[in-house]
C-alpha cells in the first residue's frame, strides 16, 4: 500500500455534527443512569444483556442436567424443561446477542469509529435503552406469574403457543409477546440512531469506503433488523388478537377435550412465514457485526491490511440482501410446493458464496501476517474455525432431501449452536478483550484470558460437536426424556452425560472471565491510549477512556482507510486513520524498498 495522494489539506465545510450540543449532566444519576452519552448507554446495554444472558446460561445448564442425568433433579419437570428451552432460545438470540452487538458495541463503536461526538439523536438513544430494560424486566416477570414462562419453543408457533396444555398459557405467553413488542419499539429508536449516525455524522474524510468493517457489519445488521423486526411485530399483534379477541389469523378450528376452540380457518403456516421472515435475517443480524469485528481484530493483531476490503463490504451487503429470500428453508417440513423448496434451497446455497469469500479473505489476511497471538486474536481465529464448521453443517440442512430426515433432530441443534451461538459469542469475548483497554483504560489479564479462551473453545466443541452424531442417530430435539425409545442406543446417554459435564465446565470457566473483568478494572495494567497499535479512530482519542464528546476540541480528519498496517516505506507498522500523509515518518530510500519492520 503506497501512500499516494495529495499532501495539501483543504478546509472543508464542517460536518453537520461538528458542533452538536451535548448534554453534560453534573449529577451521578444524570451521568450514569439517565445518560445520553452513547458510551454510557453502550455499557448499560452491555451489563443488562450479559445479566440476562447469564439467566439463559443457567437455564441451559438446567436443561443439560436433565439430559445428562435424567430424572435426578426434582425441580426439572417436563413443563419446566420446555420453559427453559423457550426462554433460553429467545433470550440468547434476541435479548443477549442482538442487544449486545447492536446496542452495546453499536453504541460504543459507531460514534467513535466514525469520528462523531455522539449519536445523531442522543435522547432517543437513551430511550432505546430504557425500552430495552423494560422489555427485559417484562420477560423476567413471566417466570413469576401463575403458570410460569411460556414453553412454546422460541419460535412461539401457534396454535401450540396459545393453546391449553402448553406451559405458560396464561400470563407467560402474554408477557413474552408484550416484552418482544417493547423490545422492537426500543430497537427501532436505537437502530434509527445507528443508521443516521453512520450516514450523517461521519467526520470529514471518513468516506463510505474508509469505514472500518466493524461499522459496515453493524450498519447493515441494523438496516436488516429495521426491516425484519416488523415481521415479528405483525406476527405478535396478530397472535395477540387471536389470543385476546378471538380472531382466527393463525388459529385453525380445533377440538380440546371435546370442545371447539372457537377459532376457524386460521393458518399456522402464515405465522411461520412471518416469523421466519424475521427469524432468518436475525441470524445475520447477529452474524454481520461479528464478521465486521473479526475482520478488524484479525487485521490489527496480524499487522496486515484486510484482504479484499471492497469484496468484504459487498459480501456483507449481498449476504444482507440474500438473507431476506431464504426464510422458507426453516419450513421445508411444514409442507410447501416442491418448486418453492427448490427455490429456497438454491438461495440458501447461494448465500454460501459471499460467506465463503469472507472466510477466504480472513484466512488470506492471516497469510504471512505478523500474527500476535493475543487473546482477542485467539477468539477471532476460534470464530473462523467454529463458523466454518457450523456453516458446513448448514449446507446439509439447506438441501431439502437432507433436511427432511434431519429436521427436529440434534443435528439442527448442533448446527445452529455452532454457527450462531458459539461463533458470535467467541466474537463477543474477542471484542471485549480487544476494546476493554479503551473502555476502562486498563488491560485484561492475558493468562486468565487464554485459560478462558481454551476452555471455552474446546468445551463448546465437546458440547455441540457430538450433537451432529446424535442427529444422525435420529435423536429428537426438545424432548425432556427419551423413555424406552428403541432406536436410540444407550451410548447416546453416555454421550449426553459427557456433554453435560462439558457444559458445566464451560459455564464455570466464565467465572474466570468475570473475575478477570472485575479484577482488571481495579488492578489491570495501565493500557495507554493505543495498546494494540491500531489505526481506527477510537484508539486516537485525547483521553482514555474517552470523555463525553469523544474527541478534543476538534474532530479528527480522516486521510486513509482503517487498514494501513505494515505499509511499505513507513517507519511505524501502523498509520492511524487521522494521520496526514505529510506526517507519516518514512524510512530512507534504501530500506523503503523492503518490507517495513514492525
Amino acid at each position: 500500500m503506497a501512500d499516494h495522494g495529495q499532501h495539501s489539506v483543504p478546509h472543508a465545510q464542517p460536518g453537520e455534527f461538528d458542533n452538536m450540543e451535548l448534554v453534560h449532566p453534573k449529577t451521578f444519576l444524570g451521568k450514569y443512569v439517565w445518560s445520553q452519552d452513547a458510551k454510557v448507554i453502550a455499557i448499560q446495554y452491555g451489563i443488562t444483556a450479559i445479566a440476562i444472558g447469564l439467566v439463559a446460561l443457567v437455564l441451559s445448564i438446567l436443561m443439560r442436567l436433565q439430559l445428562g442425568f435424567p430424572n435426578t433433579f426434582a425441580l426439572i419437570d417436563p413443563s419446566s424443561y420446555l420453559q427453559y428451552v423457550t426462554m433460553h432460545g429467545m433470550i440468547m438470540v434476541v435479548y443477549l446477542l442482538t442487544a449486545l452487538f447492536l446496542g452495546a458495541f453499536g453504541n460504543y463503536l459507531i460514534p467513535l469509529m466514525c469520528g462523531a461526538r455522539d449519536m445523531a439523536f442522543p435522547y432517543l438513544n437513551m430511550l432505546s435503552y430504557w425500552f430495552y430494560l423494560v422489555a427485559v424486566l417484562i420477560l423476567m416477570a413471566s417466570f413469576f406469574v401463575p403458570g410460569g414462562a411460556t414453553g412454546a419453543g422460541w419460535t412461539l408457533y401457534p396454535p401450540q403457543a396459545i393453546s391449553p396444555g402448553t406451559p405458560g398459557i396464561n400470563g407467560g405467553i402474554l408477557l413474552m409477546l408484550g416484552s418482544l413488542s417493547v423490545f422492537i419499539a426500543g430497537f427501532t429508536m436505537g437502530g434509527l440512531n445507528y443508521v443516521v449516525t453512520v450516514l450523517q455524522a461521519r467526520t470529514r474524510g471518513m468516506t463510505l469506503m474508509r469505514l472500518p468493517l466493524t461499522i459496515w457489519g453493524i450498519f447493515m445488521a441494523t438496516v436488516m433488523a429495521l426491516l425484519a423486526f416488523p415481521a415479528l411485530l405483525v406476527a405478535i399483534l396478530m397472535m395477540l388478537c387471536d389470543m385476546l379477541l378471538g380472531t382466527s389469523f393463525f388459529m385453525p378450528e380445533m377440538l380440546n377435550l371435546g370442545e371447539q376452540s372457537g377459532h376457524e380457518g386460521g393458518s399456522p403456516l402464515l405465522y411461520q412465514h412471518l416469523f421466519w421472515f424475521f427469524g432468518h435475517p436475525e441470524v445475520y443480524i447477529v452474524a454481520l457485526p461479528a464478521f465486521g469485528i473479526v475482520s478488524d481484530i484479525l487485521a490489527t493483531h496480524a499487522r496486515k491490511n484486510i484482504f479484499g476490503y471492497r469484496m468484504m463490504v459487498w459480501a456483507i451487503i449481498i449476504i444482507a440482501v440474500l438473507s431476506f429470500v431464504v426464510w422458507a428453508h426453516h419450513m421445508f417440513i411444514s409442507g410447501m410446493n416442491p418448486y418453492f423448496g427448490f427455490l429456497f434451497a438454491t438461495t440458501t446455497l447461494i448465500i454460501a458464496v459471499p460467506t465463503a469469500i469472507k472466510v477466504y479473505n480472513w484466512v488470506l489476511t492471516l497469510w504471512r501476517g505478523n500474527i500476535r497471538m493475543t487473546v482477542p486474536m485467539l477468539f477471532a481465529i476460534g470464530f473462523i474455525f467454529t463458523f466454518v464448521n457450523g456453516g458446513l453443517s448448514g449446507l446439509f440442512l439447506g438441501n431439502v432431501t437432507v433436511d427432511v430426515p434431519l429436521a427436529d433432530t440434534y443435528f439442527v441443534v448442533g448446527h445452529f449452536h455452532m454457527v450462531m451461538a458459539v461463533a458470535p459469542v467467541l466474537v463477543v469475548f474477542g471484542a471485549i478483550y480487544h476494546w476493554y483497554p479503551k473502555i476502562t483504560g486498563r488491560m485484561m489479564d492475558d493468562a486468565l484470558g487464554k485459560i478462558h479462551f481454551w476452555v471455552t473453545f474446546l468445551g463448546t466443541y465437546a458440547i455441540f460437536y457430538p450433537m451432529h452424531f446424535m442427529g444422525f442417530a435420529g435423536v429428537p430435539r426438545r424432548y425432556y426424556g427419551y423413555g424406552e425409545t428403541a432406536y436410540i442406543p444407550d451410548s447416546i446417554q453416555t454421550l449426553n452425560a459427557f456433554m453435560s459435564v462439558a457444559a458445566i465446565i464451560v459455564a464455570l470457566v466464565q467465572l474466570v472471565f468475570f473475575y478477570n473483568l472485575v479484577r482488571s478494572y481495579f488492578r489491570g495494567r495501565e493500557a495507554g491510549p493505543n495498546p494494540w497499535q491500531a489505526t481506527t479512530l477510537e484508539w486516537q482519542t485525547e483521553h482514555t477512556p474517552p470523555r463525553h464528546g469523544n474527541f478534543g476540541a476538534e474532530l479528527p480528519v480522516v486521510y486513509r482507510w482503517a487498514y494501513d498496517y505494515a505499509v511499505p516505506g513507513a517507519k511505524q507498522d501502523f498509520i492511524p486513520q487521522n494521520m496526514a500523509p505529510e506526517e507519516v515518518e518514512r524510512l530512507d530510500d534504501q530500506s523503503a524498498s523492503g518490507r517495513a519492520t514492525p
Partner: protein, 221 residues
C-alpha cells in the same frame, strides 16, 4: 410475501446503487486529503430528514408485511367473506387528503416566514386528521352495529387491524404535530419550527399514500 419482497428489493436496489456510485473506481487503500464532499451525502439532506426516511422505511416494511399477510390469509382460508366497505371511508379519505394539503400549506408558510398561514395550516391539518380518526372509529362502530364483528371473519379482523395500525401511526404524528403547535403558541418563530413542520408534512403525505393503498386493497378484495 411478494409485496414485501418487492419492497425489500427496491430498498436494497436504491441503497446498493447509491453505494455502487460511491465505491466504483475508489481505491480505499490510497491515502488522500479530506475533500469537500467527504461525507458523500447530498447537500440539504439533514439528519432529521434521514431519520424520518429510515422510520418511513420501517413503517413501510410493517404495512407491506401486513398487506402480505392479508393477501396470504385471503388465499389460504376458505372462510374469507369480503367485507362491505362502509361508505363513510370515502368521507374519511377526503379528510385525510385535506389534512395533508393543509400541512403542506403550513410547511410553505413556515418556509416563507408566514406565521398566520403556518398556524392556520397546522390547525386545519390537525383538525382534519382528528376528524379522520374519529371517522374511522365511527366506521368501526357501524360495522359492529351491522354484525360485522372483529372475530366473525378474517376479512373483518384484517379491516380492524389495518385501520388500527394506520390510526396508531397517525396518532404518533399528532403527538409531533401537537409539540410543534405548542412551540408556536409559546411564541416560536416560523423558521424555528420549520424542521418539525417539514417532517410532519412529509409524514402526513406518507400516511396518505399508505391509506390510499390500504383503501384500494379493501375495495378490490
Amino acid at each position: 410475501m411478494t409485496v414485501t419482497l418487492i419492497f425489500i428489493a427496491v430498498m436494497m436496489a436504491i441503497f446498493g446503487g447509491w453505494l455502487f456510485s460511491h465505491s466504483i473506481g475508489v481505491r480505499p487503500w490510497e491515502a488522500q486529503a479530506a475533500g469537500e464532499s467527504s461525507r458523500q451525502m447530498p447537500v440539504g439532506v439533514s439528519a432529521p430528514r434521514v431519520g424520518l426516511g429510515v422510520f418511513l422505511a420501517v413503517a413501510t416494511s410493517l404495512f407491506a408485511l401486513t398487506i402480505s399477510a392479508y393477501l396470504m390469509r385471503h388465499d389460504m382460508g376458505h372462510d374469507w367473506q369480503p367485507l362491505a366497505v362502509p361508505g363513510l371511508l370515502w368521507w374519511n379519505s377526503a379528510c385525510l387528503v385535506l389534512g395533508s394539503v393543509a400541512l403542506q400549506t403550513a410547511w410553505q408558510g413556515a418556509r416563507r416566514d408566514d406565521a398566520q398561514r403556518l398556524r392556520l395550516g397546522l390547525l386545519v391539518g390537525g383538525g382534519f386528521t382528528i376528524a379522520f380518526i374519529l371517522g374511522q372509529s365511527l366506521a368501526w362502530w357501524q360495522l359492529q352495529a351491522a354484525g360485522h364483528y372483529l372475530a366473525a371473519n378474517p376479512a373483518n379482523a384484517f379491516f380492524f387491524l389495518l385501520t388500527a395500525l394506520h390510526a396508531v401511526h397517525l396518532l404518533g404524528g399528532l403527538f409531533a404535530w401537537s409539540r410543534s403547535l405548542f412551540r408556536l403558541q409559546q411564541g416560536a418563530a416560523p423558521r424555528e419550527v420549520l424542521p418539525s413542520i417539514e417532517l410532519c408534512a412529509l409524514y402526513w403525505h406518507f400516511l396518505l399514500v399508505v391509506w390510499g393503498i390500504l383503501f384500494a386493497l379493501l375495495l378490490t378484495t
